[in-house]
Every structure is written in structure tokens, then in C-alpha cells.
């Protein structure tokens, strides 16, 4: 098969354009993912003084009684 200069130029231009689109796609995908992660992280860890007030307020300690329901039920059987 005989390929002239014009044909070679077309192939090169096509390859370059395809590479540009591919790199653009990869860059856009990476940027989009990073953006999502950043907003997720900032939603989870609000380090502002107000955010820390909410975080401390939201701590709920497990009650002691919750752990004894089964033990107390079993103990009744022994009496």
C-alpha cells in the first residue's frame, strides 16, 4: 500500500487529537473525583468552633443498663 505525505499528516493529526481528548478526559475525571472527595471530607469534619460544638454535643455514651438486659434475665432463672 502506498501512503503519500497528505495521508501521513492526516494520521498524525488524528493521533494527536485522540491523545488530547484522551488526556482531557482523564484529567476531567480525576478532577471531578477529587472535587467530590473534598466536599465529602469537609462535610464529615467541620473543624470550625461551631462544628466542634455540634460534634461534642452529638457524642452519645452507651448506658450501663443496656449491657445487663440478658444477664438480668438469666439471673431470674437462677432464683
Amino acid at each position: 500500500m502506498k501512503v503519500n505525505n497528505k495521508g501521513i499528516s492526516t494520521i498524525v493529526v488524528t493521533i494527536v487529537l485522540a491523545a488530547i481528548f484522551l488526556l482531557g478526559g482523564i484529567a476531567y475525571y480525576s478532577y471531578g473525583n477529587k472535587g467530590e472527595k473534598t466536599s465529602e471530607q469537609s462535610a464529615k469534619t467541620d473543624n470550625s468552633p461551631k462544628g466542634l460544638v455540634n460534634e461534642a454535643d452529638s457524642i452519645e455514651l452507651e448506658t450501663v443498663e443496656a449491657g445487663f438486659v440478658e444477664i438480668d434475665s438469666d439471673l431470674k432463672e437462677l432464683k
Binding site: 468552633p49 460544638v53 454535643d57 457524642i59
Partner: protein
Amino acid sequence: MRLLLIIVGLTLLLTPTLVNAQSASPSPFHQIQPRTVGEEHKQEVEKRHNQVQEHLKQVKNRHHAQIAEKIHQNLNHVNTTLTTAWSHHLSKMSEILIKLEDHLNQAAKDGKDVANTQAALNNAKQAVTTAENALNSQADKTYTFNISNPDHIGSDIQAARDTLHNDLKTVHETLKNAKEAVVEATKAVNQLVGGSHEGQ
């Protein structure tokens, strides 16, 4: 020129020493790590359980013996479960206090009067440290019972149950105090700093 070179040389030599001396100073407060159950503790619980199984052989009512064995396992399970869960909360509290310290340092740099807020923060640190010590002591404990009367094992087991219950209540109280102190400290810092450096 030579003098200048000597001064520069000495400065370069001494700088790392000075920086190290600063970073080596003991930190008064640290990030608490959540607890995990150690192998040694597991073995101790297992050993106690085997002893209880031996003692329970003298109990004629086999149904009662089985229940007693189950309760023995549960006593230690409850202790482990609660102390591990509480240690996660303590870890969170210590993390919050470290962040509050940063806000307070920034406020002091900005020229604000931080004395009262610093007192609230110190109070919270003390309360968290007290709770941490109580929690660590509690987590290392194992619970068991002896059989004094094989026909009435309920009272021996009830005594062990009450001991665990009281011990856990004591630790829970220190954790409640710690949480309240941490909430107070966050409110004090929020009041001092307000929205002046949000999001740091």
C-alpha cells in the same frame, strides 16, 4: 568575612539542636487511641472461664450450671464491649480538644483574652484524662464468681453482677463528666472565636 562564616556555620549547627529541644518537650495532652482487646486479657478471661466450669461441676441442676456459665461469659463480654465503645468516644473527645487548642492559640495570637477559655479547656483535658485512667483500669479487669453453695448459685452470681455494674457505673460517671466538660470547652471557644476563623 571569616567571622561571618563562623557565625553562619554555628547557626546552622545549632538550629537542629534547638528545634529538637522544642519538639522533645513532653506534650501535656495527647490524642487517645480507641482500645482493642489484648491477647493477654483474652487468655485471662479464658482461664477464669475454665475455673468456673470446674466449679460448676458440683452443681446438680445442669440447666442452672449452663445458665451460670453463660452469665460468666456475658459479664466479661459486657465489660469489654462497653469499655471498647467508650474508648472510641474518649478518642473523639481528645481529638476535639486538640482542635480547640489550635483555635485558642490562634485567638491568643490575634490578641484576644483567652484566660477564661483556657481554664475551660484545661478543665476538659483534666476530665478526659481522669476518664481515660478509669476506663483503662476497668478494661483490664476480669469478672468471675465462686460457688459457695451449689444449691443456691444465684446469690454468688448476683454479687459478681453487682460488682461489675457498680464498677461500670463509676467509669460511666467519669465519662459523662468528661463529655460535659468538653462541650463546655467547645462552647467557650466558640464564644471567644465566633466566626473569626471558621473552617480551620
